[in-house]
């Protein structure tokens, strides 16, 4: 059990590192440390999806080599992104603040508790099963063989994440699904908190924040005990992340990139929610057209273009099926 808690810490650190490659470029990144695990997860999954569309399974190596698998491609791409990010970064502020150290510890304890709670539950069986499948057979090969398409085939945003980490730590996808659930349920809380604070336009106040957080975590706990799937956690997370980023939107390339990736990830979880979110986003574009003081039309169109360029195949599937 204790080893799984270590895994959750390592997962969290890797997600924060990957996400920070983007958040370091955000104009307002004082709370970016809470976005970075989500962004890290999005990026890892999107590379994994692209590798899958390139006929590369997550863990099965190609040509009997020890390194040509999806995970190797994910690591290589993150490495290239890290070079670009560090060389281009104008500052080295990752959003970590010494005075928030207690907050970070609090979150870590929450994650530990939640992971422990979920370990005695069944976990997300369907996500775990699908994660096991895409470890050895890529999405593209599966489509080429079956010659037909179902939403469940390509909506593998969560299974890819489970698959990657279950292979890295060599544990079953079902166990990993519980760890992931534990991590991301807790990570929902800051997204909600910051969103509400932005909406009510209050400056950050730790006391009120902690109170809110406690209530929120309690609600989630109840919610989870009644049994929710990983889908609902990630869909909520993506919508909250997109909403947060949009409210602070300063149209630097990194933010546009994150938004585009978040939409792709949403498409890889649920195409209906993706379409809905896209409509809302496009409505904001239209409103931006009438409200020229703040946003022009192109500002919101750019992430959509980026989304299409980054993974046209998946976006196409999500729009058509």
């Amino acid at each position: 059990m204790h080893i799984y808690l270590l895994y959750s810490l390592l997962i969290l650190l890797s997600l924060v590192f990957t996400g920070s490659l983007f958040t370091v470029h955000m104009k307002k990144n004082n709370v970016a440390v809470f976005y970075s695990p989500w962004i890290g997860a999005i990026y890892i999954v999107n590379i994994g999806l692209l590798a899958n569309f390139s006929k590369i399974p997550i863990s099965k190596t190609v040509f009997n080599t020890p390194f040509f698998n999806g995970i190797a491609f994910i690591i290589a791409t993150i490495f290239l992104t890290a070079i670009v990010s560090f060389l281009q970064a104008k500052n080295r502020n990752f959003g970590f603040r010494k005075k928030d150290i207690l907050l970070y510890v609090f979150y870590w304890i929450c994650i530990v508790v939640f992971t422990a709670v979920f370990f005695n539950k069944l976990g997300d069986v369907s996500a775990g099963k699908r994660a096991g499948e895409i470890k050895t057979l890529s999405l593209a090969d599966e489509m080429f063989v079956k010659k037909h398409i179902q939403n469940s085939q390509w909506q593998v945003g969560i299974p890819v994440l489970i698959s990657v980490y279950s292979d890295v730590f060599k544990i079953s996808p079902f166990s990993m699904s519980k760890i992931i659930q534990g991590i991301f349920i807790v990570l929902l809380a800051p997204l909600v908190a910051y969103l509400i604070m932005k909406i009510v336009k209050r400056k950050k106040n730790n006391t009120s924040f902690f109170i809110f957080l406690a209530i929120f975590v309690g609600l989630i706990l109840i919610f989870q005990i009644r049994g929710s799937t990983l889908d609902s956690v990630f869909i909520t997370g993506m919508i909250l992340l997109i909403a947060n980023l949009t409210l602070d939107y300063s149209h630097v390339l990194a933010e546009e990139f994150i938004l585009a990736q978040a939409f792709i990830y949403l498409a890889a979880i649920n195409s209906n929610v993706f379409k809905l979110a896209l409509i809302v986003f496009l409505l904001m574009t239209v409103s931006g057209f009438f409200n020229r003081k703040k946003h022009g039309v192109l500002i919101f169109i750019k992430p959509i273009f980026l989304m299409i360029i980054l993974n046209p195949l998946l976006v196409g599937f999500a729009l058509r099926f």
Binding site: L50, F53, S54, I56, T81, V84, L87, K147, L319, R320
Partner: protein, 733 residues
Amino acid sequence: MLSTLYYLILTFVVIYILGYGVTNIVLPKKLFPYFLWLMPWILIVVLIPSLIILSLLGVPVRISAPILSVILFSLSVYTFYRVKPQLQLTVKDAIIAFVIFMNILFNIIPILRREGILTTISIGNNDVIAYATVADYLVDHSISESFHSRLLLSVDNLLHDGYRWGTPIISSFFLAIFRLSGYQFSYLIQTILFSLTFPLAYVFIRVLYKPTFLGMFLAVIMTAFNANLLYILYNNFFGQVLFWGLQMVLFILFFTYFGSHEEKVSGITLYDYVIALTIATLFFSYHEPAVFMFIPLVLYLLWRFISRTDALSYLKKLAIIGLCSLSISSVSIFNAIIFDFGQTFASKKGQPIGWELFRQKIPYANPFEAMGFYSIHSFEPMPTAIAILLSLAVLVLIAWGIFKARQRPLTVCFTIVFFFFYYWTGVHNNNFYDYNRALTYTLPFFIVLFTIGFFELFKLRYLRIGLITILIGLVMFSSLKLNKKFRTIYVAVDRSFASLHNVPLHSIHEPIYTEAFVDSTIPYWVQNWTGYFIYDNSFIHWPTKFNEAPLLNKVPENSLILSGKYSRWYYPPKRVLKNIVWENEYYRIGRLCSSDACIRSVNADLSKMVIGSSDWENVLLLSGWSMREGDERWSDSLEPSMRLVKKTPATMISIETKALKEPQNMDLFVNDAHIASIQLSTDWKKYTFPITDGHDGVYLIQFKFSKLYRPSDLKTSRDTRTLSAGFRRIILE
């Protein structure tokens, strides 16, 4: 002929009109002096990724081509009126344009002189079927759709194996605009792209050296009429033809960007975007030679670190370009890494890759031959001493060119890597096919360096003119020899194939079996192109039912079958067809009459089969037979079978046969009764055997042999078939 010239000119008009605006916007200012010759390539590197991304999204080219055309045309109109026109034509440009025109005519002579229709030709390679079929497919279907649909094999290969969508989709763009079919445009677009490549050799000379009139002339002619490059074009290796152009664009971009002050500009510049787009186009189209372009850049990075020449700004740019390229074409790049890794290490020594050895003795082109001065395709190797001397002269000129070129370190990095590949493929792996690929990938680069070296070394005006005349004369002589060979042995999608367009497929609601299903010995060119027209990228007429029993014809009785009547490419075998549903002077479609009962009703003498003169060989032969070779036919099985029809009871059977090698025992069965067992000799001999229980009707004749031999093993020829015995005649009396 007129249609070919019409579409040739129209394609140029479309390329230049659509390319004008986007080139004005995308091309870095530094490269504006080369606007005219970079314009087509900027259009291509914008069009290919755009079309592919839209196709991956699910938008077929039929829809995306008009939309993109309108956008690009609007850009051209906008920039034409808002921006000062960038086109400045000079005499040199006019000469290059003339060479382009002549080069295209040179390469499409067989179409103009003999075919008379807009079509595809090849010196022998069959790859073009894939480019034509996929181009047609992508007009009406998307790449996204292909991921979850059943595809014909010719489409599956390009779309699913290599993810090389760029070459067919650029054809699809023009097919959608011109409303043509893939077979009509696939060769023409290659000749056009090839002709647009060699002006870039001149641009590259200007980047590396200085503008010279004679230099332009020498480099352009050496590239346009290089026999080694023309051979690739004549084989329809579309990917490689496109690669040459993209390669030259990348060279021009790399050599004007890296090490310049633009490299130090922070953020993403126009240069970064254009390089990333070109790299994305390369990976989308033909990724095999990508390593030739990128390993030298890594080597150059190392050099910049060692020499402390602002390596960090170069590294920044490399990383940005890499990430941008990856963002645009990640699926193709990931797939390319796996695909090329597999191809590199899985290929067997000496494995052919689409062409035969050009000559048995020293097939490897030496530097003198590589430059196109002496054709490896037409002549036997030169005497060794002369070859060494001339090769050394070429190498000295190239080395001198490197020494005198601008951006020497980067030039050296490319040279080192290219020479490493020559060593690895030619000396280390001893694989001619890989060596020739590596050589033809890199030739334009060395032609440019050779030209620079030549102009630096020979400064005396008359000597220079004299030598250039000799060199151009040698290049033209070699290319003319190859072109003559091309005109003699080429294959074409001629009028007979094109006539299949008139088959009323919409009114035929059942499978149609092409001859390939009945006889696998029919040339691939015929198999491919009859299938192209009859199946037309759908499975509506694709056969699915076949006979299982070994003695029966694979195609079920009474099935609709396409049968040739006349062809330039093979002798169409005679078949008995009933109820003809369509026919013209070349082909007919009717119901197959192949059963014993059916052939008995044929009003012809089917009691004897004299190879080469019997009309009905293919009706009478059942299984285990190889193709006809003049007046003989060999069995490639241990148990071949056939049948003859006798209107009166047969009393004798006579056979003229021989073995490939002794010992060879032959058992003869007629209607399942054992007639004889004999040892065959390697000389032609006639054998006659009595038949005791003769009757009128069909006689099933079966042979059983003891051995199979391979002529190549016996050193009698290079034939690798396994054969049992040869036959000249089998007659029932």
